[in-house]
């Protein structure tokens, strides 16, 4: 239960930690827009820009003192998507020149057995491998490799054409998704949820003109974030209490599972409603009025580093737009 991290903040004193949350958010948005504006193509300029951004992000990560493993772990939820898009791009782009001679793939008894054996080996061995994302990628590669290598007792076969353009596009998209994920996780790693919330609130402030209750939304957001760990704790408690009544969350049939989940959901709902009511009362007692002007204990001030990083982000975006225009 404890490995679910919503607030992923890693305490630190680097310049990225100290950056004003508003500026950090704004710069991130600018850089994200920039990354998506780089056109997918086989030309040299977009490729170099993408790789430069990747290198830049790596330098940025190193400068914050956050362990690289932690940042790469952020890729874990999308590793399947990454692999999937990579191979789709690789196999379905049919322009450019062939990189290798057409490869014949065999769906044969031997290759199928080979794949199954490999998957078993993968499942067994993955807990010993540290860079699991790379290992997963390697496994996807192995599945095709085995098909090409073991033609014995063949049922049917198909041919793969790998073009250089496919390879480049696949790599390009791969790096782009990686960039986006690492950039956003850098933000969440270096910014406390309260600061993040403050950043969102003040960036959305202009919407107040069209009667959007920005401060209420911000308060809701911060309360939600605040209560995630609390509710997780409560859920764990209820799970244990129901386990003491014989609910076995690990080993049971589907029909039993439904009842088990109900036995967990209803108490958690009851508790969260009760908590919400208590919190509402506590806030009211301390003088919280919706829409009233509120002061903050920490006032943020935009310093030199903030302006500088915003300018850098804008320059990067500008260069990308410029290179798009001349292309």
């Amino acid at each position: 239960m404890n490995n679910i991290t919503i607030g992923q903040y890693i305490p630190g004193t680097s310049w990225l930690h100290k950056l004003d949350p508003r500026i950090k958010l704004l710069s991130l948005v600018i850089l994200l827009v920039g990354t998506f504006m780089i056109p997918i193509s086989v030309d040299l300029i977009p490729l170099i820009t993408m790789l430069l951004i990747f290198v830049g992000i790596m330098v940025l990560t190193a400068s914050t003192g956050i362990p690289m493993r932690k940042v790469l772990n952020g890729l874990r939820p999308i590793v399947f998507l990454l692999t999937f898009t990579f191979f789709i791009q690789l196999f379905y782009v049919r322009t450019g020149t062939l990189v290798t001679a057409p490869i014949t793939m065999y769906i044969s008894l031997s290759s199928m057995t080979g794949i199954i054996l490999w998957l078993i080996f993968y499942n067994w061995s993955k807990k010993y491998v540290k860079t699991r994302i790379l290992y997963f990628f390697f496994t996807a590669f192995m599945i095709f490799f085995i098909q090409a290598m073991l033609p014995y007792i063949n049922f049917s076969s198909y041919t793969l054409y790998i073009y250089d353009e496919g390879l480049i596009r696949a790599g390009f998209i791969f790096v782009r998704i990686t960039n986006v994920i690492i950039m956003t996780s850098l933000l969440t790693f270096t910014t406390m949820t309260t600061d993040l919330n403050y950043g969102i609130e003040s960036l959305l402030k202009p919407l107040k003109v069209i009667k959007v209750p920005v401060d209420v939304i911000a308060m809701m957001l911060s309360l939600t974030l605040r209560y995630i760990p609390t509710l997780l704790g409560e859920t764990e408690k209820i799970m244990k209490a129901q386990a003491s009544r014989g609910v076995d969350f690990k080993e049971s049939k589907f029909k039993e599972k439904v009842v088990q989940i109900i036995s967990l959901l209803i108490p958690v709902f009851v508790i969260s409603f009760k908590r919400a009511e208590d919190l509402g009362n506590a806030m009211e007692v301390r003088g919280y009025v919706i829409g009233a002007k509120r002061t903050r204990i920490d006032e943020y001030q935009i310093g030199f580093a903030d302006i500088f990083s915003l300018i850098v982000a804008c320059v990067i975006l500008g260069l990308i737009i410029y290179s798009r225009a001349i292309a």
Partner: protein, 282 residues
């Protein structure tokens, strides 16, 4: 049989450092005739200790043996059945209620342990009788009764599984004095009638002195005392446990100091009263 702890430690995994909740605990608890109170300051590891008794937590090092089952278990050994043998009632157990009717909720435990519908019904009704839930309430929603009654229903939910050892984590917390007395009377009755072993976590030293036979004191995850309550309150290092004396003993000590009535340990109010009557007649 019963429960044995052999050099048991448990640590919660933190981000950077692991936090040792209990350290090198040795314990032997019989499955019949014990009434044990576990006391200690907040954060001394009491709750962690009792969660080992029905295998909710598995020791980080050392062994727990529950009714002959070694914990941590070997691969593929099922341990769920231990939770029927050792019934654990958590703090504020009323939050675990979820069924439509009170009776159904009490039946939930027995049904999980493969009792048939009619067996479970029988066990549930029996448990409801023990905790004093009136028959007219059986078909009501468990969310529409008072807090005290909800707690009784929740405890009945554990009792209905007919556990051999009953473990209670602060069962009287948040109850009024009357509710506390009534609830303790139920446990006392269970203990006296069937000789069921009852293990109780509490901060209330009056409950300890009145009901418990054996007391286990935890301090910062270490077991610092394990013995009878008589030994505990006379223990030379009692002050180092950071525990309060129970009220009857406090009164007697005060009387000795102020009026000169000879101190003699009495563990509940009735025997205190009798003793004082005796003294005043002399």
């Amino acid at each position: 049989m019963g429960i044995q702890f052999k050099d048991v430690s448990y640590s919660y995994k933190g981000l950077k450092v692991n936090y040792d909740a209990i350290r090198h605990i040795y314990l032997d608890i019989k499955d019949k005739g014990e009434f044990i109170a576990i006391v200690g300051q907040t954060g001394s590891g009491k709750s962690t200790l009792v969660q080992h008794m029905n295998a909710l937590l598995l020791p980080s090092s050392g062994n727990v043996v529950v009714f002959g089952q070694n914990l941590p278990p070997k691969k593929k050994e099922k341990i769920n059945y231990l939770r029927q043998k050792v019934g654990l009632v958590f703090q504020f157990p009323e939050y675990q209620l979820f069924e439509e009717t009170i009776l159904k909720d009490i039946m939930f435990g027995p049904k999980n342990f493969k009792s048939t519908e009619s067996q479970a019904m029988e066990m549930a009704k029996n448990a409801a009788r023990i905790v004093g839930i009136d028959e007219s309430l059986y078909e009501q929603s468990p969310f529409r009764i008072s807090g005290g009654q909800m707690r009784r229903v929740a405890i009945a939910g554990i009792l209905a599984m007919e556990p051999e050892i009953l473990v209670l984590d602060e069962p009287t917390r948040g109850l009024d004095p009357r509710g506390r007395r009534d609830l303790m009377a139920i446990f006392k009755e269970l203990h006296a009638k069937d000789g069921k072993t009852i293990i109780l976590i509490t901060h209330d030293m009056d409950l300890v002195s009145e009901y418990a036979k054996r007391v286990i004191v935890l301090k910062d995850g270490n077991l610092v005392f394990d013995g009878t309550k008589e030994e505990l309150f006379e223990h030379p290092e009692f002050d180092s446990f950071h525990l309060d004396l129970p009220t009857p003993l406090k009164i007697l000590k005060h009387l000795e100091k102020e009026v000169g009535i000879k101190y003699q340990p009495k563990y509940d109010f009735d025997s205190l009263l009798n003793y004082l009557k005796e003294v005043s007649h002399e």
